[in-house]
């Protein structure tokens, strides 16, 4: 079997090619509803990529197309160099999927379902690997339990464990921590980092923006089927985030003093806070001058604190603006 590369040539996979290359993918259902519109995206090997978007934005449709569960109307997807439509077997061998819905073989034991998953992907039995995965996900003690008897969080772990049994190069985690407790979320974050260290590429969709902020190298924001932006996490937060300083006064003000107008401050609702928005990356933030001016006009300051906008705020602003 040969790989189908960007150039369209049929040669072996290149070492520097993207782990996942999505080119002009659109998906329109027979009803006329367009779930995805011209999505193009490259994801590098070993990268943790977070795809954020509101409900119905197209995240799961995009993952389904890559994994062979849905067909694109237009465009193509290469997984590790293999076209998912032309060479589905080669492509799928490299992909692991943890879907959003909790779907498990209810009446089987954890170990039986793990063996099934590995066999299904054509891999030879490897009890040591299965034990390691189960231990990593604190499922080892439950290996002989029927899935029916497990809690929702444990079932979610089983789904993650199943997706890892065939040692995928690209792992899709579609809302992997939806409805699970903080402990599992932290466990999963640790596991994802360990996987990345072994070279696995991880594509994550999540509603917990804290999760993307914690783990992702790059973030893509999708809304109404369109990929609005793709940016490195740090760059995104620097580029679109804002910094804010709040100066808490001892006495309330009725209005901003004329001497401070050049800083374009705003006054807090109770009149006791002066709020100053600034560019944290700029050479001159204006903070020093402002504090000196406040001291000069004799405003009594009780406290001050600064904060940078979170990824969540950036996300909400972007989606609302669209």
């Amino acid at each position: 079997m040969t790989a189908d590369l960007h150039s369209g040539m049929n040669t072996g996979p290149e070492t520097n090619m993207p782990a996942l290359s999505i080119k002009g993918i659109s998906k329109t259902y027979p009803s006329g509803f367009t779930a995805l519109s011209d999505v193009t995206l490259d994801i590098a090997p070993g990268e943790i990529f977070a795809l954020l978007g509101p409900n119905g934005a197209g995240k799961t449709t995009l993952i389904s197309i890559v994994c062979g569960l849905a067909r694109a109307s237009v465009g193509r997807v290469l997984a590790d160099g293999f076209d998912v439509v032309k060479y589905p077997l080669e492509a799928r061998r490299r992909i692991g999927l943890v879907p959003q819905e909790l779907a498990t073989e209810t009446f089987e034991t954890v170990m039986a379902t793990m063996r099934f998953s590995r066999g299904l992907f054509g891999r030879s039995p490897n009890p040591d690997l299965l034990e390691r995965i189960l231990r990593d996900l604190t499922l080892w003690d439950k290996r002989d339990n029927k899935i029916l008897t497990l809690s929702g969080g444990m079932k979610r772990r089983v789904m993650i464990a199943k997706a890892l049994t065939h040692e995928p190069k690209i792992l899709f985690l579609d809302e992997p921590t939806a409805g699970v407790d903080v402990e599992l979320r932290r466990d999963m974050w640790r596991m994802v980092r360990r996987l990345r260290e072994t070279g696995v590429t991880i594509v994550l969709t999540t509603h917990y923006i804290e999760e993307a902020e914690e783990m992702a190298d790059r973030i893509g924001i999708i809304n109404r089927g369109k990929l609005m932006l793709v940016e490195g996490k740090t760059a995104l937060m620097q580029k679109l985030g804002t910094s804010e300083m709040r100066i808490v006064l001892r006495q309330a003000l009725a209005a901003i003093p004329a001497e401070l107008l050049s800083w374009e401050l705003s006054l807090g609702p109770d009149g006791r806070e002066l709020i100053y928005a600034y560019d944290a990356q700029a050479e001159e933030t204006g903070i020093g001058g402002l504090l000196r001016q406040i001291d000069r006009i004799g405003l009594p300051v009780q406290n001050l604190h600064t904060r940078h906008s979170t990824l969540e705020e950036i996300f909400v602003n972007l989606v609302n603006a669209a």
């Binding site: 259902y29 449709t61 389904s64 994994c67 062979g68 569960l69 849905a70 067909r71 589905p88 077997l89 080669e90 799928r92 061998r93 992909i95 999927l97 879907p99 819905e101 909790l102 779907a103 498990t104 073989e105 209810t106 009446f107 089987e108 039986a112 063996r115 099934f116 998953s117 590995r118 066999g119 299904l120 992907f121 054509g122 891999r123 030879s124 199943k162």
Partner: protein, 253 residues
């Protein structure tokens, strides 16, 4: 060929049957035994033989075929419908497996279960009826061909069905009547000419006739026609399954 995937699906399905052995094996054996007692021993003892064969022995191939068909269809239909229903089908559909491998796993397991059951029923029948098998190799061939063909039909029903009601509808409303009308309990020659011709449209009639020929060397329909019609039906099922996977009918979005 991803034989590991075939084995994984096959043994997973066989394990499911073992887990539900009371329902999968004991229940059909009991109900078929009742047929032998009622129609074979009680009613059959008061009826004259057909083509020189006692009525009890005459209905053995038909009853085995009835169980074989029902079990093949039910096992295969449930085997593919249940993962669709609970959502675990995503794993099979995103795995590196071809249609043929999926089919070998699911249809292979459903056929195996039906054949095991058919053999158990055949052995159970020996307790009530004295029968013999004239062409054992052909009997096995018909058993295999029927199990595989109707497991494929069950597989199609399992993909098509989007509710448990639909899943049960085809076996109950179509397959069971076809089996009864296909000559399980009588010779087609006993019917009036019009119904004899209608019966020839029933694919089950060819199976029962061919199967009965393997037992007693007599049949309502020529055995080569029976064999040919079964093969045609098998190819039709295979074509339909290929189309379903090619288009993603009720499998992919």
């Amino acid at each position: 060929m991803n034989m590991r995937a075939v084995k994984a699906i096959y043994f997973f399905e066989m394990h499911r049957a073992w887990r539900t052995r009371l329902q999968s094996i004991v229940s059909p054996v009991i109900s078929t035994s009742l047929y032998f007692i009622v129609f074979g021993a009680a009613v059959g003892s008061r009826m004259k033989g057909i083509h020189g064969i006692s009525y009890a022995a005459f209905i053995v191939p038909g009853l085995v075929m009835l169980s074989l068909l029902t079990q093949s269809i039910t096992n295969a239909a449930f085997g593919i419908y249940f993962p669709k229903f609970v959502g675990t089908i995503y794993e099979v559909m995103s795995a590196p497996v071809t249609v043929m491998e999926i089919l070998m796993g699911y249809v292979g397991a459903a056929s195996s279960k039906a054949i095991i059951l058919g053999v158990i029923i055949l052995l159970t029948a020996k307790l009530f009826v004295d029968y013999h098998i004239m062409h054992p190799a052909w009997m096995v061939a018909f058993l295999l061909l029927t199990a595989v063909t109707f497991s494929m039909l069950g597989f199609i029903i399992g993909i098509w069905a989007d509710s448990f009601e639909k899943l049960n509808m085809v076996p109950l409303l179509i397959v069971t009547p076809l089996t009864f009308l296909g000559g399980s309990f009588y010779s087609i020659d006993m019917l009036p000419p019009f119904w004899r011709h209608v019966t020839l449209l029933d694919p089950v009639a060819y199976l029962v006739s061919g199967f009965r020929w393997a037992f007693y060397g007599m049949s309502d329909i020529d055995v080569t026609v029976s064999l040919g019609m079964t093969l045609v039906f098998m190819l039709l099922c295979l074509g339909t399954i290929q189309w379903m996977f090619h288009t993603g009918y009720r499998l992919r979005r």
